[in-house]
Amino acid sequence: MSATAVKTASNPLDDKTVFYLEEEPHHEEGASTMLGFWLYLMSDCLIFAMLFAVFGVLGGNYAAGPGPKELFDLELVALNTAMLLFSSITYGFAMLAMDRNNQRQTLAWLAITGLFGLAFLGIELYEFGHLIHEGATPQRSAFLSSFFTLVGTHGLHVTFGIIWLVTLMVQVSMKGLIPANKRRLMCLSMFWHFLDVIWIGVFTFVYLLGMLR
């Protein structure tokens, strides 16, 4: 301690105590992107948790209107679940093709993923249209309001996921599998699989348990 003090006193310019880093530690570009995106997904998870809580509280309030047993078609939901599950595995194949730096295969698998996503959305919109046509609109009962909010929010996420997917396909085909594009594909991969995880909650708590109520 005293040695340092002496040294500092004798040579104040060279050995001045500094309280900041003279050179910023080097961070690779995008090194923290995955963690940041994961934190976003966790906050998104909270949004869905609140919507699930609302559905849990209001899901039994039919206001003398139709209940899940009259409204839901489980075969359609099973088909929808299959579409989302297929899109998850095909996105996985796109990531594996990306690891092999195979741009054509990556794009092909991404396109297939997008088609499955569109099929999912199409079936969901058909279901919504069918419900509204039958008079089971969001205004009908608290159960239907919370149902449309929860399932609709998930559908909206899938919609934006597809828009993002198409954007990335354009970017990959223009710029190739550069590190920035790989990072973006990895973020979308997490987003896409996360939506599938949320859908597990939706088909379990809304549709399957709804049929048992």
């Binding site: 080097h26 690779e28 995955m34 934190l39 595995i89 594996l96 995880v197 088909f203 048992l212």
Partner: protein, 130 residues
């Protein structure tokens, strides 16, 4: 870039770099395991509810159990969660989120259930008619 930096901070940067490169996207095998498990874990609850072979209570419990297992399967095989990625920070964020979600969900359901049973006048149809 890497060489210049490794003299500078040999402790952290190399590890970080390696960890970044080894960002594990899974393999064909792990994706297929996850997919097959998901199909099984989805098909059984749907079949149970659609056929109604078991009593309602048992079906509900089994369906919820399968959902939890399937979420874990997705986390491991599709989202590649493990305790080491990003130095454990993703796992920490996940655990925190799960705690908040459990508190919010169980709290909401519990409070609102009691509110419903305690605040609502008990509907007695005979009195209403009279």
């Amino acid at each position: 870039m890497s060489a210049a930096n490794s003299d500078h901070s040999p402790d952290s940067h190399d590890v970080d770099h390696l960890g970044h490169e080894a960002h594990n996207h899974g393999s064909f095998k792990s994706y297929m395991i996850g997919f097959v498990l998901s199909v099984i874990l989805t098909a059984i609850p749907f079949a149970l509810v659609m056929t109604g072979v078991l009593p309602t209570q048992a079906t509900a419990l089994i369906v919820m159990g399968f959902a939890v297992v399937q979420i874990v399967v997705h986390m491991i095989y599709f989202l590649h969660m493990n305790s080491k990625s990003e130095g454990g920070w993703t796992m920490l964020a996940l655990i925190f989120t799960i705690i908040v979600v459990v508190i919010a969900l169980s709290g909401s359901l519990w409070v609102m259930y009691h509110l419903n049973t305690n605040m609502m006048p008990t509907h007695d149809m005979t009195q209403m008619v009279g």
